[in-house]
């Protein structure tokens, strides 16, 4: 622990030994991405249909808003450790917490996406003889797509952060470097791990921000 720890972290990051093998940076990054994708995907399968239903019918809106709000007060580390004890070591415990933490953003994204469609536009579609399903899939969903993608963005940010905490209870991913460094009092390694996670989180966020921009239907773009 002598010298500037940031210089030390640079040395750690450029050491070729850290770029290969089962504990290497490429594999840990892939693990982290895999957890994130799986968590967001499973949560989306549960939350998006419910959100679309709530947005289209307006039913259970209060319940959905309250659930999304209350979930934000839940400490992520608490869920991760609780499931680790209840379910045991393995992928199921962290995955459960990822899914629970990703649901609020996705739910809010889905119902606000559908709600954002101008009621006059929806009525016009109905008057043209579109079925409710057609209104949902051809009018409301395309118009609200940026908000829905925004929900995915929020959920991804949340799961990337939580996936790191999951390393605390034995799963892989980039969080490993931080906790290994903490255990061996290797501050440069902790910094290196942190920089890697931040880079990954920012890249995912920017990619989804771009997707959000591209998701706006051409006809609905304002100059």
């Amino acid at each position: 622990m002598t010298g500037n720890p940031y210089v030390g972290s640079l040395a750690w990051l450029t050491d070729p030994a850290h770029w290969s093998g089962p504990g290497g940076i490429p594999l840990r990054t892939l693990e982290h991405l895999g957890y994130t994708a799986l968590g967001v995907l499973v949560a989306a399968l549960l939350a998006v249909p419910v959100g679309l239903y709530v947005g289209h019918t307006g039913r259970f809106k209060g319940l959905a808003v309250a659930a999304a709000g209350a979930a934000r007060a839940l400490p992520t580390l608490g869920l991760v450790t609780l499931f680790a004890l209840l379910v045991g070591i393995g992928l199921t415990a962290p995955l459960l917490s990822f899914v629970i933490l990703a649901i609020p953003s996705l739910l809010a994204g889905a119902y606000s996406a559908i709600e954002s469609a101008d009621p006059a536009t929806v009525d016009a579609a109905r008057a043209q003889g579109m079925t409710e399903w057609q209104i949902l899939t051809r009018v409301e969903l395309p118009l609200g797509m940026p908000l829905l993608v925004g929900g995915f963005r929020g959920a991804t940010v949340q799961v990337v952060a939580t996936a790191m905490l999951a390393a605390y209870v034995g799963s892989g991913g980039l969080g490993r470097y931080i906790f290994q460094g903490l255990g061996s009092q290797n501050y440069p390694q902790m910094i290196a791990g942190s920089l890697l996670v931040i880079a990954l989180a920012l890249m995912l966020d920017l990619a989804l921000l771009l997707a959000q921009r591209l998701a706006t239907p051409r006809g609905a773009r304002t100059a």
């Binding site: 007060a73 400490p75 608490g78």
Partner: protein, 216 residues
């Protein structure tokens, strides 16, 4: 359940440490966001860059930030001050764009008539602009408060005492009740603070009461 009853003192101690780390960032984020938002609103390019920076800041997970700060500002990884500074940054990332929107929502005509009535700039800000921006500011502070109180627990993995220690200790010793108590007390603390902020809002902005009732 037995664990909880036998360790009420431990839980109480962690709750106090938790609040000491959580409350300053909430206050700092609110107070600093006001001048920063006014400054951002005064310049178009500044406003855009503030919004972009804030959204990027928000994408940074908390634990890496807790780890990076000590090397930059000379705090210790295990210091509560380190956690509070990091959480102030998150609070600002959330609060500055909200405050900027809040001030922009105040009608320019209203501000113009206040000036015409002879309000000096400072008085106009305190007695006209700030109260009118109040409801949106309150909404922002509520989000900051809930997320800050929940994020303090992450410091537990670094050994910073807070309710997060109940998770760290509980998982190490295999006590489910300890972790469950931590989740419940943290969530309760967040929801209680939120409720207090709502009450405070009604007290200092009595004109919003009517609307609250109708909406509920």
């Amino acid at each position: 359940m037995n664990w909880v009853l036998e360790n009420l003192e431990v839980i109480g101690g962690y709750t106090g440490a938790h609040l000491l780390q959580a409350l300053p960032p909430i206050l700092v984020a609110f107070l600093l966001s006001l001048p920063l938002a006014k400054l951002a609103n005064a310049r178009g390019w500044l406003r855009t860059s503030v919004t972009t920076t804030s959204s990027l800041m928000y994408a940074i997970p908390s634990l890496p930030l807790f780890v990076l700060l000590p090397g930059l500002i000379g705090t210790s990884v295990r210091s509560p001050v380190n956690i509070s500074i990091a959480l102030s940054l998150y609070g600002l990332a959330l609060m500055v764009p909200t405050a900027s929107d809040a001030f922009r929502s105040v009608s320019r005509d209203v501000l113009g008539s206040a000036t015409a009535q002879g309000y000096a700039p400072a008085a106009r800000f305190l007695r006209v602009e700030l109260p009118l921006a109040g409801p949106v500011l309150l909404a922002g502070v509520r989000v900051v408060a809930v997320s800050t109180i929940s994020l303090v627990t992450v410091g537990g993995v670094l050994g910073v005492p807070s309710l997060g220690m109940l998770f760290v200790d509980g998982v190490r010793r295999g006590i489910v009740a300890e972790i469950a108590a931590g989740v419940v007390v943290t969530a309760a603390l967040a929801l209680l603070t939120d409720a207090l902020l709502v009450l405070l809002g009604r007290a200092v902005m009595p004109w919003t009461r009517q609307r609250e009732v109708r909406r509920a």
